[in-house]
Amino acid sequence: MTSTQKRLEYRMMFKQNVEKRLLVDKIVRIIVFSCVIIAIIPLGSILAEIFKNGTAAISYEFLTATPGAIGTGEGGIGPAIQGTLIIIGMSSLIGIPIGVLSGVFLSEFGENRLAQIVRFFNDVFMEFPSIVLGIFAFLIIVLVLGHFSIWAGAFALSLIMFPIIARTTEESLKMVPMTYREAGLSLGLRRWVITMRIVLASAKSGLITGILLSVARIGGETAPLIMTILGSSQFFHSFDAPMDALPLRIWRLSLLPYDSAQLQGWGSAMVLIIIILAINIGVRYFFLRKRGSGMFSRLIRQKILGGKR
């Protein structure tokens, strides 16, 4: 508690050496601003290097062909692009229904002990190291089936996806006014019809935002793919075979000691970052703009935090 005495003290303190205090204030402001600049420099450098080095690698052949012999610099990343699209599609197939339903549970039936526990563990699960999710998928799918498979990779990525979707779904469902639900009830509609037809429909843009952000997140995930889809240089032929993906290809290329491999690595990184940035900026532009400022950071916070709202 600040007493009157203390307040007087503060006032005396503030009256003295005004110039020095203003100087300190100015210095702090400069330091704080330079923090922002220091954080933005890496982003600028990453993007500049990727586009500078990547454009040299891009050609029609590079985007569609299978990788050539190691070290020759021939061939391309066709299987990797195809693999990334397949794995995103398949993990969405598993992750989206579970995530959305789980979000519905948290928002519509979320006033009990179980929901509180689920909400907390959902948030903690979101921060699990992704490589451990990969080990888990390896143990329960690859080891049991006896071979690397796309299913294992899709399962591992769906584990990253569903908590993000659950959280964003919950938050956007909570923004739907209670009166909408009451209007539905007064019409004698069943609860599930209200939820599916009215509540989910009016929270559509929030849902799409969450789904797209989670897609952007898994698109760049590498660690869980190492031990599930392994990587390959062929196009897709079976769900029970190894497959390539862009992040995996970038990693493998970066380990090779050839300049040509490095160039191909930058090319692949450019393709990947274009996909991911397009989703991120597109989401912000189309879905988050209408809601006013701060929605993006709020979403980030909700992805991270378990604050009850």
């Binding site: 503030f14 205090r21 203003l22 300190v24 204030d25 402001r29 704080v32 330079s34 922002v36 954080a39 933005i40 890496p42 982003l43 450098s45 290097e49 990727i50 339903l101 789980s102 549970f105 039936f109 526990i117 689920v118 907390f120 563990f121 903690v124 699960f125 921060e127 190291p129 490589i131 451990v132 080990i135 888990f136 329960i140 080891l143 569903f162 908590p163 659950a166 019409l187 509609l189 599930w192 698109g219 760049g220 590498t222 660690a223 190492i226 392994l230 992040p247 990693w251 690595g265 970052i273 991911i276 940035l277 400022s293 993006f296 950071s297 916070r301 991270i304 935090l305 378990g306 604050g307």
Partner: protein, 323 residues
């Protein structure tokens, strides 16, 4: 009475109940997965606990060669802790500075700058690794590591060793960049949660902006800011690809972090490097699963603490808990 799709009438099937059960199952899925995950990791790593006992955590020897097998994960545990702590020491002050700037400047400035900082979170880990390996490492080695080594190398132990660029220092800096978006976004929210009256009171007494932060915001948001930093620590502990590409990948005794300019290894990077080569028949695979288990437990502990601290702080804002 009119009957239509979904209108309540007399029906045999209670669709509402089925829907609720379905949603509850989807909600409980996460609990099942966590339980199953812990169980699987425990049972699959059992051979190594049987073989090594507690020596698995305290041992420093790591040898997967058949006949001379020995698995001690201590160097990797230390590697993880050292890199993550360094990343936090560098990243957290920067993030708090960013949060101070963004929470206290007009929207027209804070919005685009804030967005750029948040984009750092969207860049995939493997691209940080690529950039770190081919771009950042060279500048960092020539401009920072070599001068530091030449000046302090003989007198300060953690600047000894030969700067090569693939070492603990480089990996920690990249990790620090990677945790900035998380920590700054959470810190910003927490600073916003400080009641306006507190800030106005400080200004009313004649405080400058900096003094307002010192008098009103920091004392009020201390817990939350600590939580935000721990959240960043959690991120840094679990990070795999960028670290794997930059830390130099030493194994066994040589991976014990002794100097900033030495190659090391973290728990996640040893798994990424050796997992597909490990044979399920030997103890090598259980050993790597065991490392995964230790990593998981570390991450869970850190994140639970962080969530409790941050949630408490944001609840204060909503008046549920009295500070």
């Amino acid at each position: 009475m009119q009957k239509g799709l979904g209108v309540t009438g007399k029906r045999k099937l209670n669709t509402d109940k089925i829907f609720k059960i379905g949603a509850t199952i989807a909600g409980a899925y996460v609990l099942v997965i966590i339980a199953l995950m812990v169980f699987e990791l425990l049972s699959e790593s059992y051979p190594v606990w049987q073989e090594e006992g507690l020596g698995f955590i305290t041992g420093t020897d790591w040898n997967p060669v058949e006949g001379r097998e020995s698995f001690g994960a201590l160097p990797y545990i230390l590697g993880t802790l050292v890199t993550a702590t360094l990343a936090m020491a560098i990243g957290v002050p920067l993030s708090i500075g960013i949060a101070m700037f963004l929470s206290d400047s007009p929207k027209s400035i804070s919005e685009p700058l804030g967005f750029m900082v948040e984009l750092l979170a969207a860049v995939p880990s493997v691209i940080y690794g690529l950039w770190g390996l081919f771009v950042f490492r060279n500048y960092f080695k020539d401009w920072i590591e070599v001068p530091l080594h030449n000046t302090f190398g003989d007198s300060v132990w953690f600047f000894s060793g030969t700067p090569f660029g693939l070492d603990i220092f480089t990996a920690s800096i990249i990790l620090a960049i990677m945790i900035i978006p998380t920590v700054s976004a959470v810190s910003r929210e927490i600073m916003k949660a400080v009641p306006q009256q507190q800030k106005e009171a400080a200004y009313m007494l004649g405080a400058t902006r900096w003094e307002m932060f010192k008098l009103a915001i920091f004392p009020y948001s201390k817990t939350g800011l600590i939580g935000a930093s721990i959240l960043g620590l959690g991120r840094a502990v679990g990070e795999t690809m960028a670290v794997t590409m930059l830390i130099g990948n030493a194994t066994g005794d040589s991976a014990i972090p002794q100097s900033l300019f030495k190659a090391s290894q973290t728990m996640s990077s040893i798994i990424a490097n050796e997992f597909i080569e490990a044979s399920p028949a030997s103890v090598h695979l259980p050993a790597l699963v065991g490392v995964g288990l230790v990593l998981l437990i570390t991450a869970i502990c850190i994140n639970v603490v962080a969530h409790l601290l941050v949630t408490r702080m944001l609840k204060v804002k909503e008046g549920i808990v009295n500070a």
